[in-house]
Symmetry: C2
Subunit: 244 residues, 2 copies
DNA sequence: CGGCTTCTTGATCAAGGTCAACCTTTGTGG
DNA sequence: CCACAAAGGTTGACCTTGATCAAGAAGCCG
């Protein structure tokens, strides 16, 4: 993708993200030092390594994950356009999560200490910034709660609805359908299931007439019933999302 | 507990927490508007409610939790002295996690917009602040990963080791033993197990000679073997922890 | 000493893991 | 355009982990 100035950022135009004033935007533009394209499967951040650079996902899908001793991968977070990548690895000496591209991705690169400048110059932005972190934590909280009590197909249904709504906010879902590039193995690592059982669960959702998934796409057939099945409440988000 | 000025805060003296300069400390002192004692079992923050106040746990144990529709509780985080409480509920419109005291607790109260002032006046503190949030996220990440793959007793062992190390950093554990006020039911809600199975798992750790728990206390008998059993690595923490 | 709550132990059962065979897609080269 | 290989997905059989239900055993008050 051609280099995009933050002033012309296609994401920033979306209602979903907060706006900066022209001069703040100018500052953010100067903080963006590079833009890189990576193919599907590329490792964006190596787990266990310290990083100096902070990324924003401009387009494409990625996963934040962690490996355990046995070599099994657990996906901790699904990263969609607008997601900040690498905060763990810039702030912690021994961050053990990494990030990998699921589709071809385009990344905005913020070198040096963008957060220093951010908090110096864009001081009043810390509330949206923290709110966005809290929103992500909320998502993790829900996941934790569900893992404790619900069955595989309920968890899958919840994950699909939540993901669909995130995509819709990015303008990447309409009429119940969305591009959805995850494979069985990814679902397994996200939900903490075996890929075999993910298969069974998707079959169940399909049999119930709730949703079908095939060939990189997701279709939700009966939103209302599926939300009941999953115990999903689409709550209005807390304000706009922060975008560096 | 008598009102403690931040300048005389017993926690701040610990090596575990970062230090402020005298004038910053003075500022924080003025932000602390109150100090309250609550008995064991008291609800510190009501789930689902918006809150204006931010708390710091000065002494005692508390749990951040969330209820599901079926009325089951899931503990999301164990809060020990120094923990910030209520960030979710001040920043999000619809925060659904609450906090409850496990032991009698003493809370420092920060009214109004302490974070505003913090970031205005203590601007350079944002790195420790975010680092601390990332450290807590790391703990959650590990928990998520374990839930996916490990057995109940391994998860319990990991949780005990992690908790023990947190207590040790607070000077509340020596020689393998620590005050540990959680009940079977709390463990169940933390680990996402039934209390019955927590019982079996503690029995297993005891039979293996790794650790025993009785009467509000935890004793780790064979740290090394237990760490191997749990796959636990006590990594040096990333810098000091932020304490408002 | 009852009358609580918490903890333990046992028996049964269901959700999901594992292993293995087979089916579908997709891609590649002749 | 077909043949075949490789990767991903589905289905089935069996087994393990941990949930559920229920009955006792400790503690812990009054």
């Amino acid at each position: 993708m051609n280099f995009v100035s933050c002033k012309d950022c296609p994401l920033r135009g979306l209602n979903h993200f907060g706006n900066f004033t022209a001069d703040k935007l100018e500052l953010v533009s100067t903080l963006k030092t590079d833009q890189i394209d990576l193919p599907a499967g590329a490792r964006i951040i190596e787990p266990g390594k310290r990083a100096k650079r902070l990324f924003t996902l401009l387009s494409g899908w990625a996963l934040r994950y962690r490996m355990n001793d046995a070599g099994a991968r657990k996906v901790l977070e699904v990263l969609l356009p607008g997601s900040l990548i690498g905060l763990q690895n810039t702030l912690q000496h021994h961050a053990s999560s990494g990030a990998v591209a699921v589709t071809p991705v385009t990344l905005c690169v913020f070198d040096g200490n963008p957060l220093d400048e951010l908090f110096e110059e864009l001081q009043e932005q810390y509330v949206p910034f923290l709110s966005t972190m809290m929103e992500d934590q909320r998502r993790a909280d829900v996941r934790a709660m569900q893992n404790a009590k619900h069955t595989a197909s309920v968890r899958l249904a919840y994950f699909l609805l939540d993901s669909y709504d995130r995509l819709a906010e990015l303008g990447q879902a309409q009429g119940g359908s969305a591009y959805f590039p995850l494979q069985r193995r990814d679902f397994a690592d996200i939900l903490g299931l075996s890929d075999t059982h993910v298969s069974r669960s998707t079959a169940e959702l399909s049999e119930r007439g709730l949703a079908t998934m095939r060939a990189n796409s997701l279709t939700i057939h009966a939103r209302q019933r599926m939300a009941e099945f999953a115990g999903y409440l689409s709550h209005r988000r807390t304000g706009k999302r922060f975008l560096l």
